[in-house]
């Protein structure tokens, strides 16, 4: 979802000064909202598996999720700024 938000942001920026509203809404929702929701559920799922004997800490996935959330939120908020700019015209 973070990558999707970045992709949408790239497409939108490439079309400046025209700003497609639908694309920016998609980029905003996927990056700033869905990305965090997905990460939260990942962490909840991870925590609920801690009681299993076969549970192993996967720091790689944790880092990936953290980076993805950060990137997603940044891209999502960038889309939000573009969306706000378009709606403010």
């Amino acid at each position: 979802m973070a990558l999707a938000s970045i992709a949408v942001l790239s497409v939108t920026v490439a079309q400046l000064p025209a700003i497609p509203v639908v694309l920016t809404v998609i980029g905003y929702v996927t990056g700033a909202i869905l990305c965090m929701i997905a990460a939260s559920f990942y962490r909840a799922s991870r925590d609920s598996r801690r009681s299993r004997p076969d549970f192993r800490v996967t720091r790689g996935w944790d880092k990936l999720v953290t980076v993805s959330v950060t990137v997603g939120i940044v891209a999502g908020l960038a889309n939000a700024i573009l969306l706000a700019t378009e709606l403010a015209k």
Binding site: V11, A44, I73, L77, T85, A88
Partner: protein, 888 residues
């Protein structure tokens, strides 16, 4: 002056050959559709672009829509991509330019399969590997809009990254018409978006991106795509098609890049189609196709190839059914068995052979006069070989104004052809035709002095500071009469004014961005003539803008305004441009001036191009508020999600199988042993008791064996909730040797609550110096197969725990007096209260013991509700743990 690329057209070259082989009529074995005049001119322009640029950027975009299963069932497009790659490698080899390529595919949308990289080495190998995956790509509809927009962005981005100028080419392979999969109306709307003036296709052309559409017209394709759809595809590439409306601005402006449409008759010809596109981009004309063997064209499998001096190179592309290597015979009598990868001198020429995907490409480049004559290519006569043949002229075309280009005055123009060895001598060809024109019409030329010359006078309607001249040349070689070219060049020459006229400081004006309907100011400087004052009049002004901008004009209706430019002085001319409505887009226009002479010369017209961008203005306050709102919504969503997931996840998970055991122990720094009898620490049969649950559940609190379990939820939503256990004021320590409060009244517990163990002791039992400490160990187990199945591991966990840490932590906690309503952080755990050490410990009074019965004593009476321990021990009905609303 720019120097443009040569190209060569191939015609019926064998007719009337001196060697008397007779007229060979080209067969129609493969490439069905003829290249149109517009396509031919476009390839000439593309070849010029490739030759005149530092980089050639080729975006190969392959259709992966569902109809490919019908039109290309044998996945010929895979080899076709490899052939195109080989053709691009050939351009790299012959031109020495930086040739970069990227492979993408499209159906519902455009997806890039590789990054940009050179058309050779590892990147080329990667593209070849990725091309093999094309048949496995997901299928869908055919969205031209996304394919063109995505490819444009990709090409523009890469052009911005590489050094120098770039020639941008989109090699666009598709089998069908535009089909978004959303009905006829949606398709029509998308086509309108593509083809309206200043639309998507115009955008690509204005960006000088050449669209080379490679269409597959295979069996079954008629069911998928109508002839009208194919003509629409042609129109997208070339600007117009039979029976369909024009696509984009027509005619295509000289400053825009035209495209070309090529079609393959069947899937087997796709690879040759790509090879043809590569040859044309490299400067050849559409070649002729032959089927060998053929009684007339290719007797006994031998194709005759005339090669005259004045022709730089010929190329044959062979599609064979046999592994027998073809043999090339030079006019010198030498022969060469052709094999892939060969690059050698042979017959007075340099021969290069490539073989990709069943196609063999042979390039023969003249390096000396010995190469001129009749070459023969012998293929296996027992099988069919399809051969395409191309000629490359190898000249460049230049346009110049040796004496300057004066506005209002006749000016001499000169056109020259230059080959690899210098200026081309027209007399060495059978015929050479050169044409030169501007937007005002053709300029007559006369041959002379090794070139061609003509006279040009700027039009009366206004001369631009920069005039573009389009030159085009074609020829036939001698003695074989091979048609060569056309080659084309588009050259911009700056106009000048005579000394008795004022001059302009700029060739064009770029306006500051127009913010909605606010005017934007431009300025140009007039420099006065040294011969006296002169008058300048603004005759007319014209602007073009997006329709939504309405009328765009000069503020104040200044058409007809005149002013005098003093001799030798500089006079600024300011003007404001304003749009009737807000819009986003580009504005272009001209200011047409009439400039008078400072002496007695006639007035001369001069056109000043104006360009700029218009955007709708932004209400900054609204923008900030909306941004804040969106950020707030995002934060609310993030915090809400964090809260919900934390409350859902941070719970004790207990089931009907959950059992707990509380055993009296004596703990030392070296370990722990049972206090009441000599026996293993836990007895699975007698020590464990159920929690009395009717079903599995997730709880925020529960009690067992007099120990209460709960959780602490921090205010900060992104901090994890933590579990704790409390033993009615006694010191309680986790298996890791941690306490959650400094006075030991709480210990940290990991969710789901059935991990680790707890050590519990009265404070009095800890306030002495003896090494042994009396206490209890609480173990909670949730095992579907019964306690005995996991008890050995859990008991081992107790035995191997760091009892040094556990006992030390318990003793320290017992000595700690807690300051009320404060919190502190102790070893390894979170605390609710701030602790402080005092000289002598004062332990809080503990409630009555609930586990005395474990030691064989009668349980102490407790108040109802003080603890559920008694209830859990069988006094009345067991009470299940509390299930608390997760918002609790």
């Amino acid at each position: 002056m720019s120097v443009l690329r040569w190209r060569n057209a191939l015609g019926l070259v064998l007719a009337g050959l001196a060697l008397g082989s007779g007229v060979l009529v080209p067969a129609q074995p493969a490439l069905a559709a003829e290249l149109s005049a517009a396509g031919d001119a476009a390839f000439s322009r593309i070849a010029s672009c490739a030759a005149g640029s530092d980089n050639v950027l080729a975006s190969i975009v392959v259709d992966s829509s569902g109809s490919l299963a019908e039109t290309d069932p044998s996945d010929e497009r895979v080899e076709a991509v490899k052939v195109a790659l080989g053709a691009l490698q050939q351009i790299r080899a012959t031109s020495g330019k930086n040739v970069e390529v990227r492979l993408s595919h499209f159906s519902n949308s455009l997806s890039h399969l590789t990054a940009w990289g050179p058309a050779e080495g590892e990147h080329a190998a990667q593209i070849a590997d990725v091309a093999d995956t094309l048949p496995r790509l997901p299928i869908g509809s055919t969205d031209y809009v996304d394919a063109l927009n995505g490819s444009k962005s990709s090409l523009d981005d890469e052009a911005g990254l590489v050094a120098g100028t770039s020639c941008k080419i989109m090699l666009w392979f598709t089998d069908g018409g535009l089909d978004l999969g959303e009905g006829v109306q949606a398709n029509a709307a998308a086509y309108d978006d593509l083809c309206r003036a200043q639309g998507i296709v115009d955008g690509l052309r204005a960006d000088e991106i050449a669209i080379v559409a490679l269409a597959l017209l295979g069996e079954g394709s008629d069911d998928q795509v109508s002839p009208q759809d194919r003509e629409k595809l042609r129109a997208i590439a070339e600007g117009s098609g039979d029976g369909v409306d024009q696509c984009g601005t027509a005619p295509i402006p000289p400053t825009s890049m035209p495209g070309a449409y090529l079609a393959a008759a069947d899937s087997g010809a796709i690879a040759r189609l790509f090879a043809q596109a590569g040859a044309l981009i490299d400067g050849a004309a559409k070649g002729e196709s032959y089927t060998c063997p053929d009684v007339e064209q290719c007797p006994d499998g031998v194709l005759r190839i005339p090669f005259d001096s004045g022709v730089e190179r010929f190329r044959v592309v062979l599609q064979r059914e046999t592994a027998v290597a073809p043999i090339l015979f030079a006019p010198t009598g030498e022969s060469l068995q052709l094999g892939a990868g060969e690059n050698l001198a042979f017959g007075g020429a340099a021969v290069n052979v490539q073989e990709v995907g069943g196609l063999m490409t042979v390039d023969v480049t003249a390096v000396g006069p010995a190469s001129a004559g009749m070459w023969n290519l012998s293929s296996d006569p027992s099988t069919t070989t399809l051969i395409d043949r191309y000629y490359f002229w190898g000249v460049t075309l230049s346009v110049s104004a040796p004496d300057g280009l004066y506005v209002g005055e006749p000016s001499r123009l000169r056109v020259e052809l230059t080959g690899p060895q210098g200026p081309v001598d027209p007399s060495s060809y059978g015929a050479v035709d050169v044409a030169l024109q501007t937007s005002d019409g053709a300029i007559p030329l006369i041959a002379g002095n090794g070139g061609w010359e003509g006279t040009f006078t700027t039009s009366a309607s206004g001369a631009s500071p920069n005039i573009t001249f389009d030159a085009r040349a074609s020829a036939t070689s001698a003695p074989s009469g091979i048609p060569l070219g056309p080659v084309s060049a588009s050259v911009g020459l700056q106009t000048e004014l005579k000394p008795d006229y004022p001059t302009l400081s700029a060739n064009s004006v770029v306006l500051p961005t127009l913010q909605g309907t606010d005017p934007s100011r431009g300025e140009v400087l007039f420099k006065g003539s040294s011969q006296g004052d002169a008058q300048v009049c603004l005759v007319t002004s014209e602007f073009r803008a997006p329709e939504t901008a309405g009328t765009v004009s000069l503020v104040g209706n200044r058409d007809g305004e005149c002013f005098v430019v003093p001799a030798g002085q500089t006079l600024p001319f300011e003007f404001d441009v304003q749009a009737a409505s807000s819009a986003d887009g580009r504005i272009d226009g001209e200011l047409n001036f009439a400039i008078a002479s400072a002496t007695d010369g006639p007035d001369v017209p001069l056109t000043l191009p104006i360009s700029g961008t218009i955007v709708r203005p932004v209400d900054t306050l609204r923008q900030v508020l909306l941004t804040a709102l969106f950020i707030a919504i995002a934060l609310a969503g993030i915090i809400g999600t964090a809260l919900v997931t934390r409350h859902l996840a941070a719970r004790f998970v207990l089931s009907t199988d959950t059992r707990s055991a509380l055993v009296p122990v004596i703990a030392t720094s070296t370990g722990v042993r049972r206090r009441d009898r000599e026996a293993p620490l836990f007895d699975s049969a007698n020590d464990f008791r159920g929690l009395g649950l009717a079903r599995r559940g997730r709880f925020t609190r529960f009690e067992t064996q007099g120990v209460e379990f709960g959780r602490k939820v921090p205010v900060w939503p992104f901090s994890a909730a933590t579990g704790w256990a409390s033993a009615s004021g006694r010191v309680i320590v986790s298996s890791g040797g941690n306490v959650a409060r400094a006075d030991g009244t709480r210990a940290p517990v990991e969710f789901p609550g059935t991990l680790g163990f707890l050590f519990i002791a009265d404070r009095g039992a800890l306030l002495h110096d003896r090494p042994e400490v009396e206490g209890f160990v609480l173990l909670v187990i949730d095992a579907r197969d019964g306690v005995a199945s996991v008890l050995p591991q859990r008991q081992e966990q107790v035995n191997t725990a760091s009892w040094t840490t556990i006992v030390a932590t318990a003793r320290e906690a017992a000595r700690t007096v807690v300051a009320p309503n404060t919190t502190a952080r102790g070893p390894g755990g979170n605390h609710d209260e701030q602790s402080s050490r005092v000289g002598l410990p004062t332990a809080p009074t503990a409630p009555p013991l609930h586990w005395d019965e474990v030691l064989g004593k009668e349980p102490q009476p407790t108040k109802p509700g003080e603890s559920s321990d008694d209830q859990l021990r069988g006094q009345g009905s067991p009470k299940p743990p509390k299930s608390v609303n997760f918002w609790d």
